[in-house]
Structure formats: structure tokens, C-alpha cells
């Protein structure tokens, strides 16, 4: 009965957002794929994809990107989960913590990268402090092209600082939607804090975890400005190569091939998370 009364209204209300998605997401996505599979004259070809695969920077960019995802996502999850639990514990001043944690969200990716450069550059804050404490004799070069793994660590740190709070916010929202009755019931049965987290909170949080994981992984595949700021040409990632081919080299076709690869990787990881973390109906808020 209820469904019938609503009639076409829900669909009409969905139309604007659907149109928006079609015009600004689906169409450019489709165009990017087409662009990646055509050459300058508009012929269908795999030449741009081959060009990308044979590009001197391709393997470097791919491995760095994958490493970043593998390192950033778990680190941020552990951090975000602890932060979310602290905020959700409703301790005195927990509202303040939420704001403090969320601060980096207000800073642009590139600005954050530049701030971290001032920390890690040879004459930067970190070396000055270490030298001041007498821990090192001469500055350590953190951003050396000869130690790309060290640059990678600086990028992971900067990213963890910059983008953990977005996950935290999703998790806090998830935590707050868990009905207090469940936890009270667990208390009644004498569950310890860890048992409550393990058997009540985490399972109930699964939908939020899934969203946060998907979001963070997709964003990690797109990491760009912090890598440019901290790594220069010493390390590179897929998004940086896409940008280079589009603006510096002015070859939209190879750039589109890179963009297509990033999209494919994002889709594969999303499907993987949906499959690995299925949510049951009772977990839906």
C-alpha cells in the first residue's frame, strides 16, 4: 500500500542526482576509456596502453602506488578506529578531540605535502630537532632519490596525518548508530571491554568499515599532491604519471590509459571489499 502511495515521487526525486552522476561522472569516465583506446587521429588502437606499459616510469609508479595502498590503509584503520573509540567513549572533552582530529581535513592535499616537506627536507624541522638533541651528527636526507623507500615512508606519514580523520568520522558515525541496548545487553552478560569491541562493536560496524575501506583505498590509488611535494621525481605514482602525460607531455591518450588503469584498480578493490566484507541485514542501521 505504502509503496503504491509514493508512486513516481521517489524516482523523480532521484532524477537530479542521477542526471548529475551521468553528466559529470559516467560520461567523462566513458570518454576517458574511449580516449585511452584511440590514437591522435581517432583510430581504435591499443597503442596508448602499450605506450603506458612500456613507459620508463610505469612499473615504478605501479609498485609505489600499490605499496602506498598496502601501507596506508591498515595504518590508517588502526589509527582511525582508536580515535573513533576515544571520541565515542564520551569522555570529558571528547567533543574537543573530534575537532582536533578533524583539523587536517580542512587542509588541502598539496598544502599538507608542503608542510611535511618543511619537516623532512634536509634543513627541515626533523633534522634540526634530531641534531639539537645530539642524536645525529649531520642531517639525514629523507627525500633522497637513492632511498625511495624512505620517501615512501614520509608520504605514508603525511597521508596518515592528513586523511585518517575522514575514516574516523565515518567510523564515529557508525559507532553512534549502534543501539545502546546491545552494549547494555553485553554488560548484563558480563562482557569485558575487549569482548564488547570484538563481538558487538566490530560486527555492527561492518557497513561503516566497508564504506570507509572502499573510500580510503580508492583515495589511496589517487594519491598525488603529497607524493609530488615530498618525492619530486624521486618517486612517482599512477596519478602523477597521468597528470604528467596530460599536462607536461600533452598526450591525452596515454594519460587516459593511466586514468583507466586507476579506475580499474579502484573498481577491482571495491568489488573485493564488497565480497570480503558482506553486510547482513541485521547489521544495517
Amino acid at each position: 500500500m505504502r509503496a503504491r502511495r509514493l508512486g513516481w515521487a521517489p524516482y523523480a526525486l532521484l532524477l537530479p542526482s542521477l542526471a548529475f552522476l551521468l553528466v559529470f561522472f559516467a560520461t567523462p569516465m566513458f570518454q576517458a576509456f574511449v580516449l585511452g583506446l584511440q590514437d591522435r587521429t581517432g583510430e581504435w588502437t591499443l597503442a596508448s596502453v602499450q605506450r603506458m606499459l612500456n613507459d620508463a616510469n610505469f612499473m615504478r609508479a605501479l609498485t609505489t602506488t600499490v605499496w602506498l595502498v598496502v601501507l596506508i590503509v591498515p595504518i590508517q584503520f588502526v589509527l582511525a578506529m582508536s580515535m573513533a573509540l576515544v571520541v565515542n567513549a564520551r569522555l570529558k572533552g571528547s567533543g574537543l578531540w573530534l575537532y582536533v582530529y578533524a583539523l587536517p581535513l580542512g587542509i588541502s592535499e598539496l598544502a599538507a605535502g608542503i608542510v611535511w616537506v618543511s619537516i623532512f627536507t634536509q634543513t627541515g624541522w626533523l633534522n634540526s630537532i634530531l641534531e639539537g638533541l645530539g642524536l645525529i651528527e649531520r642531517p639525514i636526507i629523507w627525500q633522497s632519490s637513492e632511498t625511495p623507500w624512505l620517501i615512501l615512508i614520509t608520504v605514508v606519514l603525511a597521508e596518515a596525518w592528513r586523511a585518517t580523520s575522514i575514516i574516523m568520522i565515518i567510523l564515529v558515525a557508525g559507532l553512534q548508530s549502534i543501539p545502546p541496548e546491545y552494549l547494555e545487553a553485553a554488560d548484563v552478560y558480563g562482557a569485558t571491554t575487549w569482548q564488547k569491541v570484538r563481538h558487538v562493536v566490530l560486527p555492527m560496524l561492518r557497513p561503516s568499515l566497508q564504506v570507509a575501506l572502499i573510500l580510503r583505498t580508492i583515495l589511496a590509488f589517487q594519491v598525488f599532491a603529497t607524493v609530488i611535494a615530498l618525492g619530486g621525481t624521486g618517486v612517482t605514482v599512477l596519478a602523477e604519471e597521468a597528470q604528467r602525460w596530460a599536462t607536461d607531455i600533452d598526450n591525452d591518450h596515454v594519460a587516459a590509459a593511466y586514468a583507466g588503469l586507476i579506475l580499474t584498480l579502484s573498481i577491482v578493490s571495491t568489488v573485493l571489499f564488497l565480497w570480503l566484507l558482506p553486510t547482513r541485514e541485521e547489521q544495517q542501521p
Partner: protein, 455 residues
């Protein structure tokens, strides 16, 4: 008033102009433009009642945020009309000029670019004849040789010279005591730079040479205008030659004394100022801050020489009006404004591009600019000077061309691959770029019959 003494930049600018013209393949009969209508240029400075309206200026020069900001807030501040200044990297720059040219209508009324970029636009008939503007500006004494370059081999003035620069070396004074024995800083060789770096490393334990090999550094210009010509006497025609391998071997050897953070450097003035680097090569506009802020602790000196000579790259930027210009009259006013002595002086002090006019500039040169000017003069005057032009006629392939040199650097120096093998494989990419736009060789490569052939 004596003028030559008071305005030393004239020497440097004149010399740069002379070498650029002598090299330009596009020579034509010089048609001097005597007679001046002083009234016209006076109208610009007066502001006057003329309604100039809005002028959109697209530029491949002054793109870095700091430079673009100074362009907007200082250089353009006194213009009577309203200017929207858009800095764009070579890719988007080319795309926009061409897109607007092809549709025959557009927002952009003034294009600021390099000689090589204008050559491509002119070849496609996108640029307006500015002979009338050149005539009106005759009393400013715009360098005749640059004006000739601006004709691009035609009898029309397709662009008006705007400003000029080049690349030199700078060092902190701490580095001077480690100069190799008997080395003359004004006549160094690249081998001596290696020795210099080694001396510093031995004494301090730190690698203090520096190059702008970062994302927005001009590292590719090092290879195109300094490394290759100095070691091979050529560029494209010697890309994979034995002499080229010798250049890469030299760089690989030198790299052990180069700060490994160089791959993050865009502008060498910053690491020079902080002391991360003691000896650096870069564009004059990207060294000036160091020379200006610490004039007593910094020296500027000519680019070193290789076996084939003291190669250097003069940079000539110009101003043009596309046929599709929305506001051509306003555009002409803007060009006249940018050439006025006061504006040229502001340009020099704000972004460190040197003037192209011989009329007297107001004010004195700052010590940093004097240092650069002296280095440029010594470099262009050197008996072994080997000027090398910026790429000409690459159109939208400019970025792809630069990438070949950056790829070579990545693979040979950073990844440690065999130079000869890498160069052989990249030679194909380079030829493909040149073939795509059918670019002829430019100096120091010998003149080519048709498309330049990589060897």
C-alpha cells in the same frame, strides 16, 4: 648622462640578442623601422580616457605561482585596463591557443610565449601582424635583433620581444675555498665542477652540488642547452653519439657529489639559501632570490664549458596577438604597456627577466641582479661561448620532447642503466616527437633538410 655605464644590463641583453639572432635559422632581410610616433606610447603611460576594457593574457612564461602573483600584483598594477593573467604549462598553453585559433573566436587577446612556441603558431597562421605596434614603440629602442627574430622570417612583426633570460651558475661563498687548484670561476669546465663537488664532499662529508631535477625544475633545459651542446657541440644530431655517452658518464660520475634531494628541487634559490646546496645551475629568474637576499654570501658565475665549448641557452620571450583575439585594441595597449621602461624595470626587479629595450630604465640594479648580469656578460663574451637555442617549432610536442631527456636522466643516472643502451632506445622516441611536428634542426645542430634526424 653616460648610458652604457649606468645600464650594464644593456651589455648582457645586447649580447644575448646577438647570439640568438646569429643562430636563428629564420633569417630574412632586415627592414629597420625608422621613425617613431612617440605620441602613441605616451598615451599608454598616461592611461588616458581610452576605454581599454578587459584583456585576457595567456602565458607560458611566469607560470610558477610566485611569478604569476608578481605579474598580477606588481607588473600589471599600473595598466589602465583590466588584465586577466593566465599562466599555463606548455601543454594546456598550446591547446588553448590552437583551440581558439581554430574556432576563430576566443577570450585570449595577448599571448606571452617563447620564440620557439611562436614559430609553431605563426606557421599555422594564428598570429596577427604587429608592425604598427613595433613602429609605435620604436623610440624605446627595442633590440633590433630581437625584433628581427619576432618576424619569424616573414615581413610581418608576428611577435614583439618582451623580456629575456638565460641560465647561469650560483654558489655560496663557503664553497669558494674548495674550488679546484688553478680553476678560474669565470672559466670553469664541467670536469672542474665535478672536482669541486668532490673537494666539498671530502671536506664536509656532504654532497653540495645541486640541480633542479624536481617536478617543476627546468632540468631538461640543462641537457638541451648545456650538457649536450657542451659535450657534443650538437643536440638531436648527437643524441646517442659517443660524445653523448661521455656526457652521461660525466654526469653519473658527478652525481655522487650532487645532493640526492635534487630530485625534489624546482627552484635552486631555495636550497642555496638554506645551505642544502652550495653550487647550483638554474634559470636566472630561479636563482635571483638567493643572490638578492644574501648578496654578500652568494656568487653568480658563467656556465662551465665542456669539450665542445661553453654552451648556454638564451631565452627570448615575446608577446603576440592571436587572430582570434577578443579585444585586439586592448591587447595592443597591454603590449605597449609591458614594453615601457617603468614596466620593464618592474619586470626585472619582480621576476628577474631582463629588459629587451635600450631606453633608460628608472632606478638602479640591485646587487643580485648586477651579479647575474655580470655572469651573463662574461658567459656570452667568452671566447669558447657556444649559444644553443630553445627548441623551435615543436608545437604541442614540446613536453614530449623534454620528457625524453628526463627519461634518459631517470634511467641512466637514477636507475644506473647503461647510457649507450638507454640512448639507443630513447632515440626512437625522440625521432617520433620530431617527426610528429616535422621539426627542422635548430642551433647548435647543423641546419637540416626537412625534419631533424636523431643520431
Amino acid at each position: 648622462m653616460p648610458t652604457t655605464q649606468a645600464m650594464p644590463w644593456r651589455r648582457a641583453s645586447g649580447l644575448l640578442a646577438a647570439v640568438a639572432l646569429a643562430l636563428a635559422a629564420c633569417t630574412g632581410e632586415t627592414s629597420p623601422t625608422p621613425g617613431a610616433s612617440a605620441a602613441a606610447s605616451a598615451a599608454v603611460t598616461d592611461g588616458g580616457p581610452v576605454d581599454i576594457g578587459q584583456v585576457v593574457m595567456l602565458s607560458s612564461q611566469l607560470v610558477p605561482v610566485e611569478e604569476a602573483e608578481k605579474m598580477r600584483s606588481q607588473i600589471l598594477a599600473d595598466f589602465a585596463g583590466e588584465v586577466e593573467f593566465i599562466g599555463a604549462e606548455s601543454g594546456p598553453f598550446n591547446d588553448r591557443v590552437r583551440a581558439e585559433g581554430e574556432t576563430g573566436s576566443g577570450d585570449v587577446s595577448v599571448i606571452g610565449g617563447l620564440h620557439g612556441e611562436f614559430a609553431s603558431f605563426a606557421a599555422d597562421g594564428l598570429l596577427m601582424d604587429l608592425s604598427d605596434v613595433a613602429d609605435e614603440l620604436a623610440d624605446l629602442g627595442i633590440n633590433e635583433q630581437y625584433l628581427e627574430l619576432g618576424k619569424l622570417g616573414t615581413d610581418q612583426q608576428l611577435y614583439i620581444p618582451w623580456m629575456q633570460a638565460t641560465y647561469v651558475m650560483a654558489a655560496r661563498s663557503e664553497a669558494m675555498e674548495y674550488l679546484p687548484d688553478g680553476a678560474d670561476i669565470d672559466a670553469l669546465t664541467w670536469e672542474q665542477v665535478t672536482e669541486w663537488g668532490a673537494n666539498i664532499e671530502e671536506a664536509t662529508g656532504e654532497r653540495k652540488l645541486g640541480f633542479p631535477a624536481g617536478e617543476d625544475g627546468l632540468w631538461h633545459r640543462f641537457f638541451q642547452g648545456y650538457g649536450y651542446p657542451a659535450f657534443t657541440g650538437a643536440l638531436n644530431t648527437a643524441f646517442a653519439s659517443d660524445d653523448a655517452v661521455a656526457m652521461w658518464d660525466w654526469l653519473a660520475d658527478t652525481w655522487q657529489y650532487v645532493n640526492p634531494q635534487s630530485t625534489t628541487y624546482g627552484f635552486m634559490q631555495e636550497p642555496l639559501q638554506s645551505g642544502e646546496v652550495w653550487v647550483a645551475w638554474d634559470h636566472t629568474a630561479r636563482l635571483i632570490e638567493a643572490l638578492r637576499s644574501q648578496p654578500d654570501d652568494m656568487v653568480a658565475f658563467p656556465a662551465p664549458a665542456g669539450p665542445s665549448g661553453r654552451a648556454f641557452m638564451p631565452v627570448v620571450a615575446g608577446l603576440a596577438i592571436p587572430n582570434s583575439a577578443e579585444n585586439p585594441d586592448g591587447a595592443k595597449e597591454l603590449i605597449k604597456y609591458l614594453l615601457q621602461p617603468q614596466t620593464q624595470a618592474t619586470t626585472l626587479s619582480a621576476v628577474s627577466f631582463f629588459p629587451v629595450i635600450t631606453a633608460e630604465l628608472p632606478g638602479d640594479l640591485e646587487p643580485g641582479q648586477q651579479a647575474e648580469e655580470a655572469a651573463v656578460t662574461t658567459m656570452t663574451n667568452a671566447s669558447d661561448a657556444l649559444p644553443s637555442l630553445l627548441p623551435i617549432g615543436l608545437g604541442d610536442q614540446g613536453g614530449a620532447y623534454n620528457q625524453v631527456f628526463r627519461d634518459a636522466f631517470q634511467q641512466i643516472i637514477l636507475d644506473g642503466q647503461d647510457a649507450a643502451t638507454v640512448l639507443d632506445s630513447l632515440a626512437g622516441n625522440l625521432q617520433e616527437v620530431l617527426d610528429t611536428v616535422e621539426a627542422a634542426c635548430w642551433p647548435p645542430d647543423p641546419e637540416s633538410d626537412g625534419t631533424c634526424q636523431v643520431q
